[in-house]
């Protein structure tokens, strides 16, 4: 039982492009980032949403980081937006990125192992992507930050 990798959720992504036409707009700032500890075991083929197993327990929350997570609109320094973008980078690859790092000040959190980005504005709270930190992170009245790599939060190679 552990978080071993980052990934995109197949159920959600299939619903986006099939007859379901799930309305995921990656540039919305109404999505939330929720933290979980290493007790959960993600299944990218079957997991569906925040609030549904395994994301209905073992959530990490604390001072200035509520259960349910923080909105992207207020997740950058000073309570501003991370400003999500979707671009082609590199050629043939779709990249989802944040123009500003996630940075939430004065948090007290214990044992965060991964972050779940989900569509809070949709009734289904659909899971979009899970980011594995590779280790447990805690803060004590400190800033909790996530800095996307040069390749963004995730990429989809559409021309492999």
């Amino acid at each position: 039982m552990a978080v071993t990798t980052s990934g995109l959720f197949l159920t959600t992504w299939i619903d986006i492009v099939d007859a379901t036409q799930l309305a995921i707009d990656l540039t919305l700032t109404t999505h939330r980032v929720a933290l979980f500890n290493n007790t959960i075991t993600p299944n990218f083929s079957t997991d569906t949403a925040h609030g549904v197993a395994p994301y209905n327990a073992n959530e990490v929350s604390g001072t200035n980081w509520p259960a349910g997570g923080v909105l992207l609109s207020a997740a950058a320094a000073g309570g501003t937006s991370v400003a999500p973008t979707v671009t082609e980078n590199p050629t043939g690859t779709l990249m989802y990125d944040w123009a500003n790092d996630l940075s939430v000040a004065s948090t007290t959190l214990s044992g965060a192992r991964c972050a779940l980005l989900y569509a809070d504005a949709l009734a289904g709270n659909n899971a979009i992507v899970l980011i594995n930190f590779g280790a447990d992170y805690s803060t004590n009245n400190g800033t909790f930050g996530l800095s996307p790599a040069a390749a963004g939060v995730f990429t989809l190679d559409l021309t492999p």
Partner: protein
Amino acid sequence: MAKSLEERYEDAAEKVRGNPSTANRKAYHALRDELVERTRESRAAQPGGAVTADQVEVG
């Protein structure tokens, strides 16, 4: 007070959601590209990515 680049970008996104016309999309993508370029420059200026003990590099 003048709006930040992020605010102008998000305003443009709202406009596209309401009316995805060619003009609106063009303006939106221009602001997006400006924001992406600024991000690229900002990250390039951070030696080693500036990851701190309570900061995780993702992606």
